[in-house]
């Protein structure tokens, strides 16, 4: 039933482990008994109809919500209930479904802002330009340039001083990913990275995710609706509906799973017009 789970090094805990995770808002059960494992350098996609609880999972992992029951473990350590910025510093970074850039700051500043957790200089050190502050600033800048160059000409040098609000939509999404990478994560959470993109850009996203895994060495958890992306980049797919996991495995396996088909298309899919 479960597909190969990616390269497993015996003895090391998975990068991310959700163990019977449950979250309720008052009477509404957003997540129920969710189990999920992500290993190093693995790409796992999370699919499901809207309202299934996918972004809620991200919010729980990153500390925005505290789970009602169950455990969230990052590299073996429980992170449930910890503050979001602490979790971010531990090595989990994310992008947002609705794009949350620092709009009035420049491209470079957006990425540099994310290096805060990796630096230690105190304000007076920055003011007096003491050696540690200068060094950290240099390193942060180098990291930012490195991360931005990952996107080639799209976010090239001449763009660095432009405010984020002046970027095109696709570039904004790229910038958000770049910003997340600047936190040097071990686990990257991408929330609908291909939303609103045309086929060419979608293809770029699929390649991008693959490259992220290879070149940056991160584990990636992707929420996506576009099945081309899911099929193209995932090692494993997890399907959610109404806060419950309904299928897990390789893409073909999950896509044809009766519960998944029903969740997306209802009980009598043959009644719907031919899609593709």
């Amino acid at each position: 039933m479960s597909a190969p789970e990616g390269p497993e090094v015996p003895g090391t805990p998975p990068v991310l482990e959700l163990d019977q995770l449950s979250l309720s808002f008052g009477g509404l059960k957003a997540l129920s008994g969710l189990d999920l494992k992500v290993r190093d350098r693995e790409v796992v996609s999370v699919i499901g109809p809207n309202g299934a609880g996918k972004t809620t999972v991200f919010n729980v992992i990153t500390g925005v919500y505290e789970p009602t029951a169950g455990a969230v473990r990052f590299a073996g350590e429980s992170i449930a209930g910890r503050a979001p910025y602490v979790i971010a510093r531990l090595g989990i970074a994310r992008t947002f479904q609705t794009l949350r850039l620092f709009m009035n700051m420049s491209v470079l500043e957006n990425v540099l802002a994310a290096t805060y957790g990796g630096t230690k200089a105190m304000p007076w050190e920055s003011v007096l330009r003491l050696p540690r502050a200068r060094r950290e600033e240099r390193e942060a800048r180098a990291l930012a340039e490195d991360v931005l160059s990952f996107f080639g000409q799209r976010l090239a040098g001449y763009r660095w001083d432009q405010p984020a609000y002046s970027l095109s939509y696709a570039n904004r999404r790229r910038l958000e990913i770049a910003r997340a990478l600047a936190t040097r994560p071990r686990l990257l959470l991408l929330d609908e990275p291909a939303a609103g993109m045309n086929p060419a850009e979608t293809h770029e996203v699929t390649e991008l995710i693959g490259r992220l895994r290879e070149e940056q060495g991160v584990a990636i958890l992707v929420i996506e609706h576009d099945m081309h992306v899911v099929a193209g980049c995932s090692d494993r797919v997890v399907a959610l509906d109404h806060g419950v996991k309904i299928a897990e495995g390789g893409f073909d396996e999950v896509a044809n799973h009766p519960a998944v088909v029903e969740a997306y298309m209802g009980r009598h899919p043959e009644d719907l017009a031919e899609a593709d």
Binding site: Y85, F102, G117
Partner: protein, 478 residues
């Protein structure tokens, strides 16, 4: 990169990408000045401003003018401190004036006969840092509720804390704090043994302090701390997801602003040699905000420039009525010059205004002698020039009051109507404005300057929220 045969490619073509950087400049010489200004770096501009500030008294500034300069610089220092809290971190602190008060009263308590039998008379190098640290701690305490309070609530709570400070110093422990009579006989500041006792010396001190604080804040702005402040303002949720400890960063903004305010307070107390609770009441806070808004929230240079402009006008309106007249009529003419284009239209409006004024005056004089019996209240050559142009009756007060109300209505209408109606309505509005000025406003400068402050806030927020030197912000609906 050049435009190739396929045309500019969005996304990869540098020429297209830089489109947003090709700025629109003000027309003619103003634009050329703007461009030149942009080519000079920030630090050279600061150095120039510093030299200009230090050199200003050499042009023969008298005693009163020095006091204006000192007041202006104190407000400028406060504005630049407020900029950290409001402009960068986006925290609407309406109790900021309390930190100013803490600095002033703290310095007063530590440098006067107030406490104990002979009083504590700490040397400056000790008392100033102490009050700054005390203010920083108070800033942290004030900032703590910001964890739970979003925007508006924080504004209310800080407003109350500011009011609480005034109440506190007015009523609590009068033997120590002096009650409504405040604390007098405060020691002057002494630097390396040299005591600052003259206004000139405080002026120079303030210029140096303001420049130094601007420099420190600039260095902070471009550091990780400054970026964190701004990121927290832009999107606290995203900032937290990007490793920034949002609450801690907000607290540091409060503390930083508080320290700058306290520094201003200490210098103020020493220069005035006395402090009273009313020195730290809301009207002063509004002055600081007016300066920050006018100059441009978020910009160090903007904060200082705006504060200086506001204070010069504010104090300028209290001097002789001639000078106030310069300011009033000068501002009107300046606005017309900047806003009325093309030149023909401006000329038309001015001509019509002049004609209308004389006509009205002649008609009024013909009807009744008492209708023009009072003269324009402006002194000097302005009053003389206007004698036959503006209609000023003998007992002008009530009429002037009604004129004021009508003027406000007219101004509001002017903003709403189309361009043609505006041209038609402008001459009567200008005549009425002069009438109201000559009958009421110029005789009550203290009230007029407050009206002006309120007007600055209202007009700026509607017309140019980013102020003179600020950048337009894009807000995402949260």
């Amino acid at each position: 990169m050049s435009v190739d045969s396929q045309g500019p490619q969005v996304g990869t073509d540098e020429w297209v990408a830089r489109q947003g950087q090709r700025r629109e400049y003000l027309p003619s010489w103003l634009g050329r000045a703007q461009q030149a200004g942009e080519r000079i770096g920030w630090w050279p501009k600061l150095a120039i401003a510093c030299l200009a500030g230090l050199a200003l008294p050499l042009f023969g500034l008298g005693g009163f003018q020095l006091q204006v300069g000192i007041d202006a610089l104190v407000i400028a220092l406060l504005a630049v401190g407020l900029n950290v809290v409001v402009g960068w971190a986006g925290l609407l602190d309406l109790g900021f004036i309390a930190f100013f008060g803490v600095g002033a009263y703290g310095f007063a308590l530590l440098s006067s006969p107030q406490i104990g039998s002979a009083g504590i008379h700490l040397p400056t190098w000790l008392s100033v840092p102490i009050v700054m640290i005390a203010a920083a701690l108070l800033g942290l305490a004030v900032g703590l509720p910001s964890r739970r309070l979003i925007g508006d609530y924080l504004a209310i709570v800080t407003l109350f804390l500011g009011e609480a400070f005034v109440e506190f110093t007015n009523n609590v422990a009068p033997s120590v704090l002096g009650g409504p009579n405040g604390i007098t006989t405060i020691d002057p500041i002494s630097i390396f043994g040299y005591q600052l006792t003259t206004n000139a010396s405080y002026y120079y001190l303030l210029v140096i302090v303001v420049v130094a604080v601007m420099a420190v804040l600039r260095l902070l702005e471009t550091s990780r701390t400054g970026r964190a402040w701004r990121a927290v303002r832009e999107d606290p949720l995203a900032a937290a997801a990007m490793t920034i400890p949002v609450n801690r960063v907000r607290l540091s903004a409060f503390a930083c602003g508080a320290m700058v305010a306290a520094l201003a307070g200490a210098i103020y107390a020493a220069q005035q040699t006395s402090v009273f609770p009313t020195d730290f009441d809301t009207p002063i806070l509004i002055l600081i905000y007016a300066g920050l808004i006018l100059g441009g929230s978020g910009s160090i240079a903007g904060a200082v420039t705006g504060a200086l402009v506001v204070m010069v006008i504010y104090d300028g309106l209290l001097r002789s009525s001639t000078e106030a007249g310069y300011l009033f009529y000068g501002l009107i003419l300046l606005t017309l010059l900047v806003k009325l284009r093309p030149w023909r239209r401006l000329a038309l409006v001015l001509a019509a205004t002049v004609a209308l004024g004389f006509a009205a005056h002649a008609i009024a004089a013909a009807i009744s002698a008492s209708a023009v019996a009072g003269g324009p209240q402006s002194g000097g050559w302005i009053g003389d020039a206007l004698r036959y142009w503006v209609v000023v009756p003998a007992n002008a007060q009530t009429l002037g009051n009604w004129g004021f109300v009508v003027l406000i209505c007219l101004l509001i209408t002017l903003v709403q109507v189309s361009s043609r109606w505006r041209t038609i309505l402008l001459p009567p509005t200008l005549c009425l404005a002069s009438f109201v000025w000559e009958t009421r406003l110029v005789t009550e400068p203290a009230i007029t300057r407050q009206l002006m402050i309120g007007a600055i806030l209202i007009v700026m927020m509607n017309a140019r929220p980013q102020g003179l030197l600020g950048q337009r912000r894009v807000e995402t609906a949260t």
